[in-house]
Symmetry: C2
Subunit: 355 residues, 2 copies
């Protein structure tokens, strides 16, 4: 039957996203969702958008949402592009800014979709190895090349890139686009958005999924020079005629306008992260300093897979990859204080069994 | 500044969707939206999905929605694939089933995204000319080839393809996939879904935007043999990790379950279409027999562009293309009876001015 599939399709290796469990109730620390519900203003905005107007196509330009994002970031609406989650925005950016004959650069340990997008558009790339502490080596990114993609903070390590280093990379690549993926920036890292008006080659990509508790909708956006935004619009409009749906636009609008709620919930997560880091280290775990809403954790005596399975048996889902260099690590989403207490208790049990 | 754009991006010609007016109130007969609001069950379902769970990613497999669609179509959930609007489903199908070395075939006058998708994936294609009545010539589709894409009813003509002809095309192409785009099938045409269990090479693509009044959400789906659905899943999961958002899934679920409302509203549109066709013919217009929620209309004495502009001045938006063979035609969405009365009155005014 596979003869009906295209060759491209036969060669694919599908991405496996973190499990979304059905039935049994787990403590879900595996997909970096926010443990707090979205702002009440989100619900209010969706209710207001929920009537008869659903029969009409959405505003293809997301005008009102772009204006609200611009206001929140002290930017102009023309500097904002909105897409169906930051994955779509990233994909469009790979298409809009990179050419096959000039290799792009990203870290060897980073968001796993970058090589997928590159392959999809027939682009070449260099994976630059992080050092043994998962820090980004600066030199390879200062050479001229076909573009750069940086996750900041990085995933799955949680490490923040030094702001001066980031600026140096942007300055060293004036003829190609530097994409900074800030999916996890809302939890304490310094954003590159403040550099956007100064550097025409800088594109910052963000999402409502994490800091704004809206993973259930699919809304991401890019901030950059008008010229870069025009390229994203051109790519999007040539191919994908209709945009973010009405309720997703409305929900995101409610979220971006409620800065107080955003600050309160992200601050709670930052505090929980500090406590959990401390506890895990006391238990003997190595925990990377995280600026994200997850922790990257390993134990010198127990394989990552053993920890993963032990936690699952105890009703806690975390993320683990069978990949070189990181197969002893778990990525653990920062949940509520109670979630993290349960996590630490479960890990202590597993340790006690093993030692 | 364009040197920061990829070559691919510089070469693009963006698609221009039908206008979504802001400010002034128009009678909107330009984007084939349903004039009736979605079912009350849609609103109820969205309300129920609208709480705290928005912080969690959607079900990537759209399980509940696929089961409900399967129930409605007397199919199995494994035969259903759900995507962000039928445009996304079509795009994934082009990727999953067609290879560059075997030209695919579609009509010269049909949905304008087919050549766009083909170009995007580097596919070759033959555009088969419709005859002077916009009927599909059968022969070129009965030869072996790399696949076929048929809109049924066709857009922008509204013509339904003879069911036996459709089956002949599917039978004549056992080694390649025949995609039947049924975006407009809900308004009286005979669906090919009944053939899906018999022909492993048939994929039927549908949308909630038209018949279910949900253009404001973005939900489309495909029905086909499990093997074809597996290919679509493979392509989607290799690239685009997260699916249709929670509220869109919920809304579509409400819509598919309310068959009575669906039948009542689509029947109203079919009746309005019959009346409007009759009126327009009395005014001297040529009106193609339509099985869709739009009419394809021309007048022998007045250019299409003149009609378009005259209607816009009178507060009515319709669709016109500056393209060979159809530049004298307008595509007019079937609205309410009142909308169509206003349309006919405006056209009569324009005729009286011209003659």
């Amino acid at each position: 039957m596979n003869e009906l599939w295209s060759r491209r399709c036969r060669d694919l290796i599908p991405y496996v996203p973190g499990e979304q469990p059905k039935g049994r109730t787990f403590i879900k620390l595996n997909t970096n969702e926010n443990p707090y519900p979205p702002s009440p203003m989100v619900i209010k905005a969706i209710k207001a958008a929920m009537g008869e107007s659903l029969r009409l196509y959405p505003d293809p330009e997301c005008t009102e949402l772009r204006e609200a994002i611009a206001l929140a970031l002290d930017a102009k609406a023309e500097q904002i592009f909105v897409g169906n989650g930051s994955d779509e925005v990233l994909s469009l950016a790979f298409q809009a800014f990179f050419d096959p004959d000039k290799p792009i650069r990203f870290a060897d340990i980073t968001y796993s979709f970058y090589p997928v997008f590159a392959d999809f558009y027939g682009l070449t790339y260099r994976e630059i190895p992080l050092d043994e502490n998962f820090a980004l080596p600066l030199e390879p990114f200062l050479e001229p090349g076909g573009g750069v993609v940086l996750a900041n903070p990085n995933a799955p390590t949680g490490r923040e890139l030094d702001f001066c280093d980031l600026r140096s990379i942007v300055e060293a690549n004036p003829d190609s686009v530097v994409v900074v993926d800030e999916a996890y920036v809302d939890f304490g890292a310094r954003s590159a958005v403040e550099l956007v008006s100064r550097y025409p080659n800088l594109l910052v990509v963000r999402t409502f999924s994490k800091g704004r508790s809206l993973a259930g909708l699919r809304v991401g956006y890019a901030v950059g020079n008008q010229n870069l935004i025009a390229a994203l619009n051109s790519v999007k409009n040539s191919f994908n005629s209709y945009p973010v749906d009405r309720l997703a636009q409305a929900g995101a609008l409610g979220a971006i306008r409620d800065m107080d709620y955003f600050r309160a919930t992200t601050t709670k997560i930052i505090n929980t992260r500090a406590c959990a880091t401390c506890h895990l280290r006391k238990l003997g775990f190595t925990v990377c300093d995280s600026s994200a809403n997850f922790l990257f954790v390993c134990h010198q005596n127990i394989p990552g897979k053993t920890l993963l399975d032990g936690l699952r048996q105890r009703g806690i889902l975390v993320r683990w990859w069978d990949k070189p260099r990181i197969s002893n690590y778990l990525r653990i989403t920062v949940g509520t204080d109670e979630d993290m207490k349960a996590l630490c208790a479960a890990l202590k049990e597993i340790l006690d069994e093993q030692i």
